[in-house]
Symmetry: C2
Subunit: 378 residues, 2 copies
């Protein structure tokens, strides 16, 4: 195996596949990056057995030569050292050559590294995915879906299924749901293509976070292929595999209240900042809890009290307050997470009494919803 490659392009691909590599693996070869050289180009692979990433660098792109292949072949190199080395190479061109006994030379300018490689035959094969149905979404929309839901997954392993995001596909519409049983985030989006049949799977939150970091903020289409125990996201020159979580995701539809008793419309920014300030003193007290009360004249009062440190009180003028008077306490963190995930400048909040979950939505957008359980303080 021998080839010459543009350093920056190599660095970019190495950084992509490094997202799947962990040093805390019990399978030694997975601490490596697999490099496969064929006449079409160079493929890098990284995997931690939950997530696998393949990044392809074509020989030529847009008429520019990126790789010069001298001999095809493959090798596995220690991922951490390889990635640090390529980042610090002195020149724009890098030559990589496998010699006898898996010894691999990395040459750039007057610097020459000699790394002990591992046999690529021993690297696990990535899942073969049969492509019956392909779902299509623009990359930036997919990133938004992840951003607006994944923060609400559970971080506790007591119910492993809740550490994932529930993805449902029905009637060409994709729904993402995440809940840690104290709050729930839901976002829907229309697919770009028609899809036969329905899907209902759970993708680990960690996988979606890593996927989000790799995808560009463009409207380039991402192809999604869902199988029984794997999902594949395919972008240009990039394959991202994740295992699915086993088990049934709880039916969350009946959690969302259909009626309401108090409805508030308010500017996001002022409301968010007032809660942020109130939470400064709440942090040390009862689990980050702030209190919201409706006052006369369309005013919301946000307050918090932490006997040892002090108290804070702030009034926010709402756009409108309808229905019953309300005093309710909630986790400042959960409400701030939800408000940051919403788009637009105004939101509506529907309450059904101080002990029932409440729902936050953007004023003019029904594709997403944030549900939060209040905290009992009275």
């Amino acid at each position: 195996m021998q080839f010459i490659i543009q350093r920056d392009r190599l660095v970019q691909s190495v950084q992509e596949v490094m997202k799947a590599v962990t040093s805390r693996t019990t399978i030694p070869i997975l601490t490596g990056v697999k490099i496969t050289v064929k006449t079409e180009g160079v493929t890098l692979t990284g995997s931690d057995s939950d997530i696998s990433i393949e990044s392809f660098i074509p020989v030529e792109e847009d008429g520019n030569e990126i790789v010069e292949i001298k001999e095809t072949g493959s090798i596995v190199l220690n991922a951490r050292f390889f990635s640090e080395i390529v980042k610090k190479l002195p020149m724009d061109a890098v030559e990589i050559e496998v010699q006898n006994n898996l010894q691999t030379i990395i040459r750039s300018g007057k610097a020459e590294f000699n790394l002990n490689g591992l046999d690529a035959e021993e690297y696990p094969h990535l899942p073969l995915i049969e492509e019956e149905n392909i779902l299509r979404l623009p990359a930036d929309l997919l990133k938004t879906l992840v951003r607006q839901t994944v923060f609400a997954v559970s971080t506790s392993e007591t119910r492993p299924i809740l550490t994932g995001v529930n993805i449902k596909v029905e009637n060409d519409e994709l729904t993402c749901i995440a809940t840690d049983s104290h709050r729930l985030a839901m976002r829907k989006a229309r697919l770009e293509n028609e899809v036969n049949g329905t899907y209902n799977v759970v993708i680990p939150g960690k996988s979606l976070n890593e996927l989000s970091k790799i995808l560009d903020d463009t409207n380039e289409p991402i192809e999604i292929v869902i199988t029984e125990n794997q999902v594949l996201f395919r972008a240009k020159n990039l394959l991202f595999f994740s295992r699915l979580l086993e088990g049934n995701y709880p039916d969350t539809s009946r959690l969302i209240p259909t009626d309401s008793k108090t409805n508030i419309t308010v500017h996001v920014k002022e409301f968010l900042q007032a809660i942020d300030r109130a939470s400064l003193l709440a942090r040390e007290g009862r689990n980050n809890v702030v209190k919201l009360s409706t006052l006369e004249g369309g005013v919301i009062e946000i307050s918090s009290n932490s006997p040892e440190i002090g108290k804070v009180i702030e009034e926010v003028t709402a756009e409108s307050i309808e229905g019953e008077e309300l005093k309710i306490s909630f986790s400042a963190k959960f409400v701030m997470d939800a408000l940051k995930a919403l788009e637009g400048t105004d939101i509506k909040i529907n309450f059904t009494g101080a002990m029932r979950p409440f729902v936050i939505r953007s004023l003019h957008d029904d594709t997403m919803l944030q549900l939060i359980l209040p905290v009992r303080t009275y």
Copy 2:
């Protein structure tokens, strides 16, 4: 106590004094910031008993009103909460008022905080410093002196005196020396004023690091007052006190070799980058050690070998190599620290054999020196 103040100016002063406040103190009142209001302005004080910082905000500056004093007085407020609160206040003006029982109101726009204060009478007094001799240095030069030496202090408490920087003053010249007994950094600077007598004190490295963070990169003069067990740095509106370390600093002058057997002149950048690359593989091996060998034709070879991972070799063309042939091993970290501290584009290195300390200097600047002990590998 009651006053109205510009928020940004308050935030800046709070951040300055926070550098001296630690939550890990055994003296509860030192977790607070002391606020003292007099007719001239507002003084904030923070202290961890090693370092004390006083920041003064005048009532008026350059014709602009910064503070409106309504009632003089003083209070101590929890530093962490106070600093987070002022950063997040909604409006440009902040009113602070002490009511009964040390209850302190912080008001900005519609937000109102009520903090439990502590009695300012219980806050320890800062040292009274008799100003016999004042040393003067521009702020940017003082920061450079610290930057070029403080990294070499010892991080181990086995010889506490080596955790400080030795400051000597003689003949209107100030010398800073730091050593951890494996390397030594020295920098001299001429004082702006004439000084009677000599000084020889040791300032904790931590104090100098914090001082450096507070000082601006300007040529504004800093006044330094040294007493038996304290040093005071005074800038405009800022007092920075540090205790001195007790004990005698070792005499380092005899460590610096006066003769040399091999002299190398080389571009800093290329040399530094080659060592950086070689250290990538050294990290896992024998304590970050790289090897330097002189070759024919004015070439330096930098190499490193880590049997389990691989090896690296790189040639750097020197400006000149004079004297005996040399093979020497050293800590890549120590040499990189030293090279980063030097100014200018070219350096000279004087070696006195593979087992003796070597000295790195800027080619055209004799005010500073970096000395490094080699590592025995043969």
